[in-house]
Symmetry: C2
Subunit: 358 residues, 2 copies
């Protein structure tokens, strides 16, 4: 198999810890290592390093190389601009197909957490086995554990085809709460984690069909892979590439068979400070639900989360549901449940010439 | 007149801004200057600098000299140990009496805030005039504006003696809320701000009567004032001195006539982060009751108070009644109404070898 780790994101939901130059996939916020490094280590038992491709934005190339410095065989593909996941996957599929074989590619976001990597690897292997012997796309469907309204869902057909795998009936958008509850109870819906397995020829066929202009440019690029002028052609490709997700551009339109491997691997996209708190507090929190990462102490607090990466000692007194994030140049103190509004702060920073804090 | 500014305190209620080496009277938290400096400036229109005595603890001598560096004529009396206000006032009275005259002394705590200094000066002058022509002690009684349970009260007799001044009937301890309400409604009770005016001979007479041992040692010290061995005798005096307040040792026992000048001067002892917030938010707060001193911004907050003396920019999101104090080596995030519990933190620091933060 091949693995493509997509590390091109640049979110601000973990501000002030995440910054434009240091987005979530580079943060060491859960699991004790940068998320990108964990994503690589989680999968590295299944594939040799020379089959691992990390796709990353230009401004994050150095950070990526640092995090993977001891893994010289890994390929790092640098995108000249961010164009969401479709161009990223197309590029990786073309580069891999030029290596002369058609082994399945596992496509993984770099910034997800998985509590049970053994289960995950076993499910990925299942998906890889199926993708390797058919012309289909296999997705990993996370078995839902709550009526989550923040994720897209994958609906399966009724009957298993083999080995616990199902044919996919449809991809559905983020539901409202009542719908999410119904999904959860039905047992026929899974969270879409953006993890896909397919052979390069299958993927490129999809791009040819659903993004023909992009595909033509991709073919034009193919001759220059490994050559001096590759960068120039890559820039030309990306300049014309639409900014669109693989789900939207391909998965929702494909006529190819799509399968889903249900996986109860303890997956989370760690989408906000609150979800990070929920993930970690269960294991690391005190008996009042407080979680402290760094130097400080709680006095009469409940359900508070402190991430202290600054130099100060922090005393928390009489607080409930409060998030504190301390860094060298910025501090966030927030209602832990208002995590969705962190973007208000980054928008303010943009508008008020405080770029150094972004 | 003479003025004695008592700057010997060492509270921790403004932790982490106040520290053992930098207690409240040295903080610039209201009025734009250190409180000690404001106390001096407030009274300096009434007396020449050479008549001003600042009594301060050994560990705060340098800080005091720095704050008053441009006022070379002010006397700074350094106490070898803190022994509450009675020894402090006895010492100052003896030193002043040795200057050879018997002008009234105004005794002032260094760490109070007064919103209307003109009113205050006028009332002090009244008290000084009365004290100068009688053998009495004159107190300033703050006209109460709420049923405060945190202060001691001064009860007056019914009839004015002159110029709006009353004879004092009794000094009463901190009341419960119902009693405080009754005090407020009666119009006969004032807050005891610890401000007294009396001639040195009157004060020394009181010490002779109510603290005879201390008085004997004080007399022994008198011969050494201005001499090389003064420090040695001063240490001997303080080693034996009881740790007791002037209110408790003298005012509650005195048989001398005591008068009270009611004063509506906007006084506050600024006893906690919350009272500081209340004092400042009215004038400086935004329309949601938020008060920001330093660099940062509120997003959807109400009644929050941020004192940012660190280097970081602080974002506050969705908070209510939260206090944030940022310094170079410690941060406090607290429920603004739990200000009484700040001492829990300093107690913890003592017990856990974090002396550098005290």
């Amino acid at each position: 198999m091949y693995v493509v780790i997509m590390a091109g994101g640049s979110g601000t939901r973990f501000w002030p810890l995440s910054r434009q130059k240091h987005p979530k996939q580079f943060l060491d916020i859960i699991g004790g290592k940068p998320m990108l490094r964990q994503t690589y280590e989680r999968i590295s038992e299944l594939v040799p390093d020379r089959n691992v491709f990390v796709v990353v934005g230009k401004s994050h190339e150095q950070e990526t190389k640092k995090i993977l410095a001891d893994k010289k065989d890994i390929h790092i593909l640098v995108e000249p601009f961010g164009r969401n996941t479709a161009p990223c996957i197309g590029l990786a599929a073309m580069v891999i197909s030029q290596q002369g074989n058609d082994l399945p590619i596992v496509i993984l976001p770099a910034d997800h957490f998985i509590a049970q990597p053994d289960v995950f690897r076993s499910d990925i292997q299942k998906a890889g086995d199926l993708a390797g012997k058919t012309n289909c796309i296999v997705t990993i469907g996370i078995v839902p554990v709550r009526p989550e309204t923040g994720y897209g869902y994958i609906e399966r057909e009724s009957e298993k085809i083999e080995n616990g795998i199902y044919r996919v009936k449809s991809f559905v958008e983020k539901p409202d709460f009542e719908t999410a509850k119904r999904y959860l109870e039905s047992g026929r819906y899974f969270w879409n984690a953006g993890i896909f397995v397919a052979r390069p020829s299958v993927l490129l066929g999809e791009f040819e069909k659903h993004m023909p202009d992009f595909y033509s440019n991709l073919v034009r690029l193919a001759d220059h892979i490994g050559k001096e002028d590759f960068k120039t052609y890559l820039e030309a490709l990306y300049e014309k590439a639409p900014n669109i997700s693989f789900d939207y551009a391909i998965m929702e339109k494909t006529e190819t068979e799509v399968y889903v491997v249900p996986s109860a691997c303890g997956w989370s996209d760690v989408g906000s400070w609150y979800s990070l708190y929920e993930l970690r507090a269960t294991r690391e929190g005190d008996d009042k639900g407080n979680l402290l990462d760094g130097s400080g102490k709680f006095f009469n607090c409940r359900n508070c989360f402190v991430m202290n990466r600054g130099t100060q000692w922090i005393a928390m007194l009489g607080l409930k549901d409060v998030l504190i994030v301390n860094t060298d140049d910025a501090i966030l103190v927030a209602d832990l449940k208002m995590h969705q509004q962190v973007r208000k702060i980054t928008e303010h920073l943009k508008q008020s010439d405080k770029d150094e804090l972004l």
